[in-house]
């Protein structure tokens, strides 16, 4: 499933650029996994998804892995604080963690000196990615639930 999501990220969502910002469905997948299955699953999904993503982009391999792993773990805190899910709280959490995830990516790039500059455009990217993730989250909730629940049954 991660391969499919990655393929969507590198094809369709690379071209759909509202306000000249590309949607981050890999981040959304990780955040949805974290929110539904906790810190551990969120971190693992994030690390694996990030590593896959790193192999198709030009940034150093492993960088996205760390950032998305952190984002997945952060999303997993939702279950820690709110064990009984509330739908609108989930949406708020997705918005917050998506924004934090983008900040993680930004910070990770800055840490290895990739020329990340804090400018107004960064805020726009965070805002647009957050809005898109909230919009797409119902579908991705269903996808992550189906994907990860399937794995549980086979075990």
């Amino acid at each position: 499933m991660l391969l499919v999501v990655l393929a969507l990220q590198t094809t369709m969502f690379k071209e759909l650029r509202p306000f000249d910002v590309a949607a981050q469905v890999m981040l959304l997948f990780v955040v949805c996994a974290g929110i539904q299955f906790g810190i551990g699953v969120g971190a693992i999904v994030g690390l694996v998804a990030g590593m896959m993503f790193d192999f198709v982009v030009s940034t150093p391999a492993g960088l996205g892995s760390i950032a998305l792993g952190l984002a997945g773990a952060t999303a997993g805190l939702y279950l820690y604080f709110f064990p009984s899910p509330i739908w609108w709280l989930r949406l708020v959490s997705i918005a917050v963690v998506s924004a934090i995830g983008e900040v993680y990516i930004f910070l990770a790039q800055a840490m290895i000196g990739l020329g990340a500059v804090l400018e107004l455009r960064v805020l726009r990217i965070i805002a647009v990615v957050t809005a898109i993730n909230v919009f797409l989250s119902p579908g991705f909730f269903w996808i992550t639930r189906w994907t990860l629940s399937e794995r549980k049954k086979t075990r």
């Binding site: 192999f55 492993g62 792993g69």
Partner: protein, 356 residues
């Protein structure tokens, strides 16, 4: 449950360490990371290909929705460029012909010496009956009634009403529009006499030339004619064959045989019909007029436009019986449906100028 957590924890630690190691290796430009990328790319490529095929319609729809205005702007810009190119092509073709006259007559009045004002089109005609546009420059910029208006491709009309900061331009297609024009002949052969005793002569032309016929005469006179097919008409140049003694010769075209023009009056016929040129002499001096012949303004002391402003090319010749002469339908070089910026030549014929 505890063992599951331990496994997860180990997996997280392992993946994190792997990531850190990969970052370190990749920043060192390790070939191993490059190899891993290559392997992953090979495996991922088919999946990505399928996804691209499936999602392409979505991407196209999105592009159509979000870039529609940009597409319109781009289309408009391209139309302008095409008009400019078409005008330039015809103008270049006419220039080849004119250059021979200029060489012989040592200069003719050109547009270079005439001041011009650039204006933006701010409105179209409020009625369906007149072909006019409104521009944002007026008397303050020196614009007067009758001045010719051009765009990048050629003549588009003339000023018909002037206010302080705006003016109205009557387009060529307006039925009330008329101006004297001349038709540049499309094919001619020049003969001339030769001046000998010149050791080196250089001829230069704007287009690559390939001689079609090359027939040097003997001894004292040499007549050489080269015909170059150029879109719209055929230009003529002379070549200089070297004599056996190492001398070269120049062919000077006879003044009486320089490019002859037929004059007439262009009149608009509305937006849906092409303008026509009337009052062409029935007995043409340079033979028959053919489609593609450039039409330029005639100039003269009474004409509102200076000479040699490009208007368009002949698209059809309608022969008429009697002494009326042929009627020429004109394909205008400028695209009148998509005007954004125009240039007003601050030109007034001598007869219109007020003496100080």
């Amino acid at each position: 449950m505890a063992s599951q957590n331990t496994t997860r924890r180990r997996a997280i630690i392992l993946l994190t360490l792997t990531s850190i190691m990969l970052i370190t290796l990749d920043l060192q430009d390790s070939p191993k990371v490059a190899g891993l990328r290559s392997i992953f790319g090979t495996l991922f490529y088919p999946v990505e290909g399928v996804a691209r095929v499936i999602t392409r319609p979505v991407g196209n729809a999105w592009y159509g929705v979000t870039h529609y205005n940009k597409l319109l702007e781009e289309n408009s810009l391209l139309r302008q460029q095409v008009a400019q190119q078409e005008g330039a092509t015809v103008a270049a073709a006419a220039s080849v012909r004119l250059s021979q006259e200029l060489l012989a007559l040592n200069g003719l009045p050109t547009l270079a010496g005439i001041n011009a004002v650039t204006a933006q089109v701010i409105g179209e005609s409020p009625t369906s009956f007149s072909q006019t546009i409104e521009i944002n420059q007026g008397a303050e910029s020196g614009i007067r009634v009758g001045m010719p208006v051009l765009n990048a491709a050629g003549l588009i009309g003339k000023i018909t009403k002037v206010f302080t900061n705006r003016s109205f331009v009557m387009l060529i297609t307006d039925p009330d529009f008329s101006i004297s024009v001349k038709v540049v002949s499309t094919e001619r052969k020049i003969t001339g006499s030769t001046v000998q005793g010149i050791t080196s002569v250089t001829t230069s032309t704007a287009v690559p030339l390939e001689p079609v016929s090359n027939t040097p005469d003997s001894e004292t006179t040499t007549t050489t004619t080269t015909t170059i097919p150029i879109e719209g008409f055929t230009a003529v140049v002379t070549t200089l064959p070297a004599t056996p003694k190492g001398l070269t010769s120049i062919t000077i075209p006879l003044a009486s045989e320089l490019a002859v023009r037929e004059t007439g009056v262009i009149q608009g016929n509305g937006p849906t019909r092409q303008p026509t040129v009337r009052f062409i002499d029935n007995s043409l001096r340079f033979g028959s007029i053919e489609a593609g012949a450039p039409i330029v303004t005639a100039g003269g002391s009474r004409s509102l436009a200076p000479p040699d402003v490009l208007i368009g090319v002949v698209s059809r010749v309608v022969e008429r019986v009697g002494s009326a002469g042929p009627l020429l339908e004109i394909n205008i070089a400028a695209e009148l449906t998509n005007l954004s910026f125009v240039r007003i030549l601050l030109y007034q014929p001598i007869t219109e100028k007020k003496s100080p």
